[in-house]
């Protein structure tokens, strides 16, 4: 409590935060519902939005103060790829992992999901199937946004099996809420989406999971708390309080009991509006790949508090910009990439908030990826989670 008094008064205390209908909005929802925003002097309204474009636009116009954003969006908005150009930034990641690749039940069975349901096994089986039926039209797989971890994870998974994501399948964008319906109607053959939409497909019996996000890249970045640079400059104290409150919510979400509570609260109509039984498997780490299969232990399906999950690593941001550039078919110059990352990825803001909560924070902005199969100590007191990538991928990038 004594730390709270050291906080400068907020420039603005009534805020509106935007979120999408996804389980990983939990930190925002729980910070509100457990009184953490109020504890830090903020009166927060949460507004559910239907598209990432809308979240971004409302942030830029100032209708939202902050938003639950796909991790690559701040940089890609800074680049002007997509709808518009604006300077967004983040000082707090909202969690790690949380996605999965679901295939239609028929395709999953045809790929031998019953025998080997491992992520690399399924990708290899997909490659065999495509190679074995040259006359067939390409399979259609959906992602939620072009510039998203979903797209990158889908492509990593395909490549791990030897499938060329640009030539051998068709990748389209669909809103999360349209995924299950499109899969059931046979418009798409599979999708990569955040929870609870995979579990919904599994429980409805229309789909089965070929890979979890965690299996593709252990503890990959996912969503961030995004604000505009101008908003941050005008409201540094409000932004600090906001980050502290959400960080505290993320810490609480590291507790299993909180996850059940979160599923209960998220199921309410104004948040996800889905039965808690659809939200529970991923949130409690008892994830089901297919309707008839027993749940598997997936304690890191969503990571909110462990492994310094909130830290915005600039090395990961660099990777996202490069991967996005590859999608656009252009090389983003080293200098531009660095400028984008420096402007929009603010580890200094994470450290500032972590200090107030007495939480450890990495002192360096870059980390290697793809090297650790278990928890490891990055610096004294800073423990990070596994970071392996499917197919043995690795990267070591600068802080930008």
């Amino acid at each position: 409590m004594s730390r709270d008094k050291q906080l400068p008064p907020p420039e603005k205390s009534a805020l509106t935060l935007g979120f999408m209908r996804l389980s990983d909005s939990a930190p925002l929802v729980m910070a509100r519902e457990t009184g953490l925003f109020a504890r830090y002097g903020l009166e927060v309204a949460l507004a559910r939005e239907v598209s990432w474009a809308n979240l971004r636009d409302k942030l830029v116009v100032g209708k939202l103060d902050a938003a639950h954003l796909l991790a690559p969006l701040p940089m890609m908005t800074g680049l002007g790829a997509g709808g518009m150009r604006a300077n967004l930034l983040t000082g707090l990641s909202l969690g790690l992992n949380g996605n999965a690749i679901t295939l239609s039940r028929a395709l999953w069975e045809a790929l031998g999901g019953e025998r080997d349901a491992s992520a690399p096994g399924m990708a290899a089986a997909l490659h065999e199937r495509i190679a074995g039926s040259p006359g067939a039209g390409p399979l259609t797989l959906a992602t939620v946004h072009l510039f998203s971890m979903h797209t990158f994870q889908l492509r990593m998974w395909l490549r791990a099996g030897g499938v060329d994501p640009d030539r051998e399948v068709r990748i389209i964008v669909l809103p999360p809420e349209q995924m299950c319906d499109s899969l059931a109607r046979g418009i798409i053959d599979g999708f990569c989406v955040g929870e609870p939409w995979n579990t919904l497909a599994v429980q409805q019996g229309i789909g089965a999971v070929a890979a979890t996000g965690h299996e593709i890249w252990n503890n990959a970045p996912e969503k961030v708390l995004g604000v505009t640079e101008a908003w941050h400059n005008h409201h540094p104290a409000t932004h600090l309080r906001l980050r502290i409150a959400i960080m505290a919510a993320c810490q609480a979400l590291a507790e299993p009991a909180q996850r059940e509570l979160a599923a209960d609260i998220l199921s309410q109509a104004q948040y996800l509006g889905l039965p808690a039984k659809v939200l529970l498997p991923a949130l409690t780490g008892r994830f089901c790949r297919a309707k008839h299969l027993a749940p598997m232990d997936a304690p890191d399906f969503h990571v909110f508090g462990r492994y310094c999950a909130g830290f915005p690593w600039r090395s990961q941001a660099q990777w996202m910009v490069r991967s996005s550039g590859a999608l656009l078919g252009k090389d983003i110059a080293e200098e531009q990439c660095r400028a984008l990352v420096q402007q929009s990825w603010r580890p200094d803001l994470y450290r500032e908030a972590a200090r107030h909560l007495g939480l450890p924070a990495p002192s360096r902005d870059a980390r290697p990826e793809g090297l650790h199969a278990g928890c490891w100590e990055f610096e004294p007191g800073v423990v990070l989670g596994p970071d392996l990538m499917i197919g043995g991928g690795q990267f070591r990038l600068s802080a930008g």
Partner: protein, 230 residues
């Protein structure tokens, strides 16, 4: 039915399907009209906007609701411009098309279901609403936006007017009910009851319907619930 365009060509096939076509308003006859697709979940509004677009000389190739297989519809109709509800989940789909496929249409975001027409203006002002990638000239899109905005405004105004009218009617009903009660309890004439309500309103510095609501809540049996909210 056969319609002759200003340049003398006939377009009967399409005109039969779309009898509202009115190409004479299209000021620049040397270019074919922009082919517009409308994505709107409000059918009444979509109809009005569609009519205005036809009247202004644009060709409306399709009107669909969101989540109705947008990608397939785009492939089929190949519109030049897409007008879409700013609150449509399909906006991310359109943005992805604008980014990766330069042959695809250039969507333009326009409407909102929310009672906030200012947002559109702000959004358009901030350059949010158009995803123009090469090819089409922004000046060709501008008139489409202008027509759609004008019609959107008209629709919004109409809806607000209806809303106001409904409130007025409800207020009148409340006042009549309150007058009736006052007449019964205070043995007043209708005029007397009206004067009493007016005086109460002036004393309390409240609107007449608000005072009527208080009277109803106080005097009518079980009226507390009735009077509390509209």
């Amino acid at each position: 039915m056969c319609i002759t365009k200003p340049d003398g060509t006939n377009v009967d096939g399409i005109a039969l399907r779309f009898p509202r076509r009115n190409t004479w308003l299209n000021t620049d006859s040397s270019k074919p009209p922009a082919r517009v697709m409308l994505v709107d979940d409000s059918p009444e509004r979509a109809q009005l906007v569609e009519e205005r677009l036809w009247a202004a000389g644009f060709e409306v190739v399709a009107v669909i609701a969101s989540a109705k297989g947008l990608l397939f519809q785009i492939q089929q109709h190949a519109p030049d411009v897409i007008l879409i509800d700013i609150e449509s989940p399909d906006r991310d789909v359109l943005e992805s098309l604008a980014v990766v496929n330069h042959h695809n249409p250039r969507p333009v975001v326009m409407f909102t279901q929310q009672d906030d027409p200012d947002y559109i203006e702000q959004a358009v002002g901030a350059g949010i609403s158009t995803y123009l990638v090469g090819g089409i000239n922004p000046e060709q899109v501008k008139p489409v936006i202008d027509v759609a905005i004008a019609q959107f405004r008209a629709f919004q105004a109409l809806r607000e007017e209806l809303h106001d009218t409904r409130i007025q009617l409800e207020d009148r009903k409340l006042i009549e009910q309150a007058k009736g009660l006052l007449m019964a309890y205070q043995k007043l004439s209708e005029d007397g009851a009206h004067r009493m309500l007016t005086r109460l309103a002036m004393d309390a510095n409240q609107r007449l319907p608000d005072v009527a609501r208080t009277v109803l809540a106080t005097l009518s049996p079980g009226g507390k619930d009735k009077g509390r909210s509209r």
